[in-house]
Symmetry: C2
Subunit: 528 residues, 2 copies
């Protein structure tokens, strides 16, 4: 509902029925805005860029104006304000409880890593070396040797794994930590998506057998799918990474891949790696089995990061701002009194309180916006910008009719709900919104997957901003070749993953790129 | 119970009745230790240093052997293993819930801070400059300007506070973050107590009035007292820091001070600072009040760190290892089957399971130690080393008599408890242990506070490893003078705090050090 419409409502006593509302900031009208100066300062709060017109600018605007992010004077670093950090806390609570059920324990390993440990696994350090930040002095004193800041903690943890693991009874060893890591990227930094410091969890585990390691890789990947699909309402494709794209130094990498339709780019959602015995060899992590034989342990590592929040913003946000899935929204329902002239405002507040209590008793996260220096329409826009899933408006007629008006953020549908049913209806609507956001996002995503057999169709689909599912020979050289041939202004195409769910691959099918016999279907695309 | 005693028990079918047990590792006896090699590797697991004989070595040994800490190859950094990290999680859960009730929100600000921001408040940077770690390169590239790692986040946060706060409606602004900070200390590093990286929460808040800021300082300090006294069972003295000892750049600092009797040193437990308007002046954090007047905000910052765990270890630990207060213990009750020859081990396991389920249903944190490669006595020592508050032993006679034996870690008292009462009795005993640990620690601490009026008595008490409560003139020069006069091998004495609870100060009382009129009682001591 636009603020203009609402000013009208305030003056005429009629409720606007326009479905979409307006992004425009409220006109300043002194008579209805007690603290005019404050409003004036904030009239530029609404979105000014459209998602389909300039996606990059839209994204920067929405994360800042919704109150998720503040930019910072160290390039590539961002401030996570409570509005985004609370989403991280919801995901953390979920994931932390799940891994604890699996018997994984939290711990904390140092931020710093010695050069000696960091460079022990050659492939691994090759992957990370250019991005490693080095501390070389403290105060005015040069350190004797530079100390690296962890880009990830394999090399921090595994030297002590070698110490802790002796016999088969010390296995499995399953640790996790919630921490910050630093990768001094030189690509264009983007809040949540690519930042020089980010928050994550990293699990590091060691097993006696490959089977146990394989099993955990899958279980954790399924948790990552749940974070995306069940919490953030973002559809992902589960699959395995190609040799080129797998984790540096690992055996194989599984992934959940999301897709941003506006840019036509895939984005790695979270990864669960089986490291095999490569790190255990380098770090000499042996165990003695029950027959007295000495073997290398099998290891996994897995992580998801604050990136997940950025993907969610990109998928669901619209021209009015954020759209938060109810399961992760800090505020699920905002209650806004709609005062009319000559109506007792305290009576309105009582009604808001009553509804708020009903919703809170039902376990919903509720906020009343009773600020007296903004008109209702301005508040509607403000909470739409912040993405709150459900708005409840309460005006004098609602009170008279013992009802409230509910307005959904996802599709702006409105309905009047009798007072005695508010809690149940709000809970149901939140479930519907959660389901609808996922359904809509999946429909759009599914339309973005194009199945092709030939190079021509591949290029056409790619240029049409699609993910491309193509039969592939699975040769490293061919992936490098495809990268080289598609390198342009918008970046080369690469494999996103080989989906676990494979379409039929009839005998005789050939690779779209090499013409050699195809081994499997791979999902290709440009990517973040 | 010593393992020798237990070996005897295994062979003779009698239960040892010695009250103290032995710290000695078990003798290796092939016939009763199936996996002899593993035991051999771990026979040095027990404590070898006595707390009263060499406190420093005892502390290093206990934090490592209990599985709390692993040393690390970057000096001054330590690995927090699950056994200690889980204690941090308990405290975090408590404190986080409490501050959320107060309306304080979590957020995350960057690890890095620009030199410009860091050096804005002169007193502040003077206090921290020598300890600041600087990143000067990434990969092989020199950064254009060095970037500091946060030693604390005032200078990270306050530039944006100035941006976010405009009007009185933006206040109070109350944020908190859980994070790591780095202070490249050159003093002797000690796990938990003094490390170059540590974990903490830091709260940063801004108010319109000094009264609101003062009030919060007190409320938060009370939460810190609860952490120490109600969770860690460590008595603390609440008070205000002297001008010399207050937070660099702040207005005043309140503190909870603990005391380590073995070393005769006070230790700052946690601090809640009122920053006054000093930072807001430097960072230009103004707000417009409801009359349109422009004023500086009043600010607080407050923090507690992983140091709390170290203090707890120092206070309660004994010659057998850690002693964990039940409220923070990861495992509150360990159940150990005591098998006899010719007794069905599965029957024992069933009995352990049954007891375990009863305790878990009562909400207790329980672990069964059913390892078949260690004798019971070895397990007793192992869990004593790890500080588990309550041990339950279940042998064939216990099963026959429908009872279990409970053994307290704090005083080694044993009792036989009927099966139908195990849950209630265990819960009661845990409460008793929690209360008893605090009571004992407080008795010892109280004996360490010596009230004096003269310099001679002050020096005598100090050399007797006491905290000294003395009437003081509250002059900065006098504190500096006392420091200079007491500087010796064991470090100078300084004010720990001026306790909130002040004894009577009769008119005419003079300062113990200067002879000038005394203004208040101050608590002095050597300190960590």
């Amino acid at each position: 509902m636009s603020s203009e419409a609402n000013q009208e409502e305030l003056q005429n006593g009629t409720r606007s029925t326009n479905k979409q509302g307006s992004k425009k900031p409220p006109k300043e009208k002194k008579e209805t805005v007690p603290s005019g100066k404050e409003v004036k300062k904030e009239t530029k709060l609404g979105m000014t860029v459209k998602k389909n017109e300039n996606f990059g600018d839209w994204y920067s605007e929405v994360v800042v104006k919704s109150g998720m992010i503040e930019y910072y004077d160290v390039s590539g670093c961002y401030i996570l304000r409570p509005w985004s950090y609370a989403i991280w806390e919801v995901l953390k609570d979920f994931f932390d409880a799940e891994i604890k059920k699996l018997g994984i324990q939290n711990s904390y390993f140092p931020l710093f890593v010695s050069e000696q440990a960091l460079t022990k696994e050659k492939d691994h350090i090759e992957g990370f070396a250019p991005e490693v930040a080095w501390v070389t002095k403290s105060g005015n004193t040069e350190l004797e040797v530079p100390i690296a800041i962890r880009p990830t903690s394999e090399t921090v943890m595994y030297p002590v794994f070698a110490k802790w693991i002796r016999g088969h009874r010390d296995l499995p060893l399953r640790l996790n930590q919630w921490c910050n890591v630093v990768r001094w990227e030189f690509k264009h930094p983007t809040p949540f998506i690519r930042s020089r410091e980010f928050l994550w969890q990293e699990g590091h585990t060691a097993f006696a057998t490959k089977e146990e390691a394989d099993e955990e890789v899958k279980i954790v990947l399924e948790l990552y799918r749940k974070i995306y699909e069940e919490y953030l309402a973002v559809p992902v494709v589960k699959g395995i990474k190609s040799e080129v794209e797998k984790f540096a130094g690992g055996l194989y990498t599984t992934t959940v891949e999301a897709f941003i339709p506006n840019t036509g780019r895939g984005i790695q959602g979270a990864t669960s790696h089986c490291l095999g015995q490569n790190f255990s060899k380098m770090f000499e992590i042996f165990f003695e089995d029950d027959k007295g034989e000495r073997s290398l342990v099998w290891q996994n590592s897995w992580a998801f990061t604050t990136r997940v929040i950025g993907v969610m913003v990109m998928i669901h946000g619209d021209d009015k701002g954020l759209v938060l899935p109810p399961k992760v929204a800090t505020v699920q329902v905002v209650i806004i009194p709609v005062p009319y002239k000559n109506v007792d405002f305290n009576q309105m507040l009582d009604a808001c309180n009553e509804v708020s209590q009903k919703l809170e008793s039902a376990g919903l996260r509720v906020k009343q916006d009773t600020r007296d220096n903004y008109p209702p329409g301005w508040k509607y826009s403000d909470w739409e910008l912040k993405g709150v899933p459900l708005r409840i408006e309460i005006g004098p007629k609602d009170i008279e009719n013992k009802q409230v008006r509910m307005v959904r953020r996802d599709n702006f549908e409105k309905e009047d709900v009798p007072l005695e049913k508010v809690a149940q209806r709000a809970a149901d609507l939140l479930d519907e919104i959660q389901a609808n956001l996922f359904k809509k996002a999946k429909e759009v995503r599914d339309l973005c997957i194009k199945k092709v057999f030939t190079w021509e169709d591949f290029i056409e689909a790619l240029n049409d901003k699609k993910m491309v599912l193509a039969p592939w020979c699975d040769d490293v050289e061919v992936e490098e070749d495809v990268k080289a041939r598609t390198k342009g202004d918008t970046g080369a195409a690469k494999t996103l993953c080989m989906p676990f769910e494979q379409p039929d691959l009839p005998d005789g099918t050939v690779c779209f790129a090499s013409g050699k016999p195809a081994k499997r279907w791979a999902l290709w695309g440009r990517s973040y």
